[in-house]
Symmetry: D2
């Protein structure tokens, strides 16, 4: 794989490298790691240990040079780990150059851009992975499988929350700066960065589709231009209801993505900070705690698990599940066979379009004082 972005000071670049390589099927071979050519070179060498000739000054050159290499020696796909506003041009160029894409979320700056990428993907037949990485956890797979099995009956209500505290003050650093800058982050701050993870997770687990929402966003830190907190009421097509709230000013919270789902005959709860437990509730017997690698799990969960029960798997392992599923699909594609539908268990450009629609509706609803919007 080749990487765009992810250079010095980046958090997500090394995460992509570790996650992609974890299962020994993917190797980082080249990259354009920074807008400054010198920093790109330095990052390639110091952080990723790459040879100088595979560190490119910019992504245009990388795509051109790599595409010209013999098939066996060229990168097979691009991972885009830049700030949000650069996702679109890079993804577009990659797809046009014939490369499969793995892209950070939110997929683009504006909804139209996402729709255009969807068109390009559809037309090209290339694979496009959107790294809503939290769907890679084994217990999230288990949760989804439980809902799909019908054990809970139809779903009635959902609670999804994502609480962080790291932007509670007016901090300035590489991570904070672009996320709070409308030029680089897009129309939403907290809801672009983490609210969209919540939306994706809840739709993934429940198969419900949000059809209406009412949002109330806030910017608590003085001078901040984008939302750093918000609450959203949700209505689903099925008649189910839900709530999604997210914050980056919830002091002391780390990375508190948490989902609760309640159906007619059962419910579940999962929390990202202790991701190896899934609480399952029933009307007429004690609640149970399903554990990664433990007894009584679905094939969906076991397929996403690498270690025996009690050997905690974490963020990188979940992230790597996306890459593993993608690698399987890619191998099938490269060998000309149809990928097994189970391999296709990763978020795609369609999730990206849906996420942009969600973000856009949230921002508009809030801007209108908390008016209900259709999605």
């Amino acid at each position: 794989m080749g990487m765009v972005g992810g250079g010095e000071g980046a958090f997500i670049g090394p995460v992509h490298r570790m996650a992609a390589e974890l299962d020994g099927e993917i190797e980082l071979v080249c990259g354009a790691f920074a807008s400054d050519p010198e920093r790109s070179m330095r990052s390639g060498r110091d952080i990723y240990g790459l040879a100088r000739e595979r560190c490119y000054p910019d992504y245009e050159e990388m795509f051109a040079v790599e595409a010209a290499r013999p098939p066996q020696a060229q990168m097979q796909f691009v991972v885009i780990a830049t700030p949000n506003h650069i996702h679109y041009p890079v993804a577009k160029a990659a797809l046009e150059a014939g490369f499969h894409v793995v892209c950070d979320k939110p997929v683009t700056h504006r909804l139209e851009e996402a729709e255009h990428l969807a068109e390009l993907v559809s037309r090209s037949g290339l694979l496009f992975v959107l790294t809503h990485n939290y769907t890679g956890y084994p217990m999230v797979k288990e949760a989804r499988n439980l809902v799909r099995s019908g054990a809970f009956g139809s779903i009635r209500r959902v609670v999804c929350e994502y609480l962080q505290g790291w932007l509670a003050e007016d901090v300035s650093n590489k991570q904070a700066d672009w996320r709070t800058d409308p030029e680089r982050a897009g129309v939403a701050g907290c809801f672009g960065d983490i609210g969209s993870h919540g939306e994706n997770l809840l739709e993934y687990v429940t198969d419900l589709k949000i059809v209406e929402l009412c949002a109330d966003l806030s910017s608590f830190v003085p001078g901040r231009q984008l939302d750093d907190d918000g609450n959203v009421l949700l209505r689903f097509g099925s008649g189910a209801k839900g709530i999604l709230f997210a914050s980056q000013v919830a002091v002391g919270e780390e990375n508190g993505l948490r989902l609760r789902v309640y159906g007619e005959r059962g419910g579940l709860e999962w929390s990202q900070t202790e991701p190896n437990s899934l609480i399952v509730r029933w009307p007429d017997r004690p609640y149970e705690v399903r554990r990664t690698g433990g007894s009584g799990l679905s094939a969906a969960a076991l397929n996403a698990t690498r270690l025996p029960a009690g050997h905690p798997e974490g963020y990188l392992e979940a992230f790597a599940v996306l890459y593993r599923n993608f690698a399987s699909a890619l191998r099938a594609t490269l060998s000309g066979t149809d990928p097994n539908p189970e391999m296709l268990d990763f978020p795609t450009i369609d999730d990206g379009v849906r996420g942009m629609r969600f973000i856009s509706a949230v921002v508009t609803s809030s801007a209108r004082g908390g008016q209900w919007m259709s999605l």
Copy 2:
């Protein structure tokens, strides 16, 4: 004390008796326990061990007879433990007969009734306790004290939830029946029964006042006439935001009242099902867990604590804190002195009026499709 309601099959009557008597300052001496005179007698004898002559066929007779007894031998106050729709006439009669009142929540059926009671209380100078019992927990006192101390700076966001699952199906029993019947429960089901506890708790802990809300209630169980679930967006006078969600169809949940508060420089989390822990979060150091009876607590918490750390106190003990504070205030009143302001730490008719206003706004907002309402 004398009791109205709380007869055979009741849950809350014996709770009142145990809570009131726990500290050895109050004794149940008489009651009109049921609308049926025979059942009232039987309940008085079998459940409460009262002499026949202090078991009354109805509350009117009880008030008349007790008022006519010599001061030392008469009941000093009435506890009202009936279904909601009878709170108002009983409370009115009690106040008019000159008795102090302890009343279950929600205080009345309609807002106007609550306002009328407030007027009666104010005019009579009698004490009126509304049993929002969850405010009696030591760790709730600690939470309130922390917010008041200013340690968190100004409060930015609140999350309050109250999840139960016992009405997930169309059950029929004494407890369920009146709570789902508009005639007896009032305009709200879940939000009258438990949502109002949430509202009271969050305002008690934070001193914030809800000024606007947007509600989306549901009745998930077919045929149910009142809400059994709902989500509410909150705006406070200070600019803070919040969310309050409650359900009685959240399968497998027991009595999940939980509050989270985040300010500029700290936050807290408390859960009623494990009520002896209070999580306190800070921006720059590990989170801490304050424990009932433990080290480093405020006088407010210690005053509400009966046992050393590690000897769990529960629902009855918290309920009894209301009675203990009320008993202190009552003793002061009876002895003609002004009650110490700290003794007055219990919910009053003002909380009742406020709760009715909240319930009314929630129901109206939801009925209008989720429109914002001022409170």
Copy 3:
């Protein structure tokens, strides 16, 4: 009931009063609360609100005067809430005066005294309750029932721990002083005070009998004459093995009594500080958490429960279960009928003798450098 001990500054006296009276079946009517007559009077009046004539200067007088009262007007039983060294003479006198006894643990100073009391109880036909109060928790009843049901197969290993931290320094106060004084506490400190609770709990839940043990006690605080910490290896008659460790110098621990039991086909875990949960583990399915008042519980647990699920019951409620069972047995005895065996579910003088044997073996084993002892 009448009380001996439990006067000013006492922790356990008011606990007995609240626990005994919780269910409305028992009332404290008299007491000899302190060795100093004046303090006894004052305690009776100020703490317990008793009339002067029922506050006695000493227990001898109380037993004589109360025994001379007409049957309906006399106390029915005595609760002994003194430091350990006075248990024996008071219990002996009470039994000889024909009163049933409720006594704190450890039952006596020396094993021979306990054996003598057992003889007196047996001869007199009087009831004797030893307040190993932790066996009163609903989830302890559930645990015991689970083991007895055979669901786990035969038990293989037990882990029981009891960790406190309040004696980590050389504190001096009423509670600490007598517990660290061999004259008043007996041959053991930590193991007399809390280790014996552990022994009782584990034998109660598992029905196993300790037959051999090897103990290593310590006195960590300089100058302390009795053990404040210790570890004990256990062997049971059935071939099962176990471990019991206790400490009063485990800094920061509150009252951490915790039991884990593992059988051939299942296991359980219970912790006193969160007493309303019982974790049950199985070989081939997710672990489950049974909750006080919740679904799927045994009659044994439900009988010990007063409130619906999610309304936490605590230390006082569990303590009160002993009193409630005792009250049932007492009523049967007083009415001349045989008490139902289920009513007899409380620790008796036999537990007291067994506890003294345990303490004695632990102290001897440790004194001999950690030699194995038979029990």
Copy 4:
């Protein structure tokens, strides 16, 4: 690196590969993965994706061929991932061939073998890493740092437990078979496999040295030749006391390694199944929970952390910390400089010798009926 063992059906081989490669500094280049040459080839190709010429039929040939390759093209060190009984001959051969070694624990079959390896290591100046991987967790580093800082005063008591349930029945599979076979596992079963991890962890965190112990081992599953459960009393040189218990028949337990340490002025608790939390207790203030990547941590913890707080790190990440520290030390060694002492933070052959001494004392103590042994 080259690997010996870790072929088809192995759990630990792929763990080594993932852990070693996680930080992008080490690459698996060759191996002798199984005693059967054909299986070795197949494993190298299918599991690790290696070229045929780097998959060797046996370790002797691998060492010979690799040593003959030019320095840049040869493997730099060997990882030994075989059953216990083959550790010694492979490690001996590797050291004699001049290769650094990474070896699974317990290091050898018999104590004398471990001592001989220690001699070889010392004589050769080669690096030797023993994969007591649990010491790699950031919160274990934090725990150790806290104890070393003196914040707790001197340590008084330690509780270390390691509970698993997977051998509760007489299972037969690749993992279970060799662990229960004295020929392959050595003199101890449970205590060789996991008890020794406990010993290493507690000595690592506390810097205490076990000087005496008294052990009571059991083999609960009929027909099992080695211990599957055991309890050990510990005495440390400093006067501190402790307890170590381990089981592989604790039904339903996963991989429950847990450590509690109590000093004069503080204590801590860490559990491997939720490894990102460290509970720290103080005598006079609420307990705190330190979290991986969170606020207020030592450099020791932060150095072992790859992700921001709330992004859970697990078993592989901790394992990879050993490899990372080893890689730093190796780089220093290869470049002829003295490794920085902080890089040397990994278990070595000395831990191996100490572990063998511990295992040997435990087995002997138990065989003598639970007699105290010096270490």
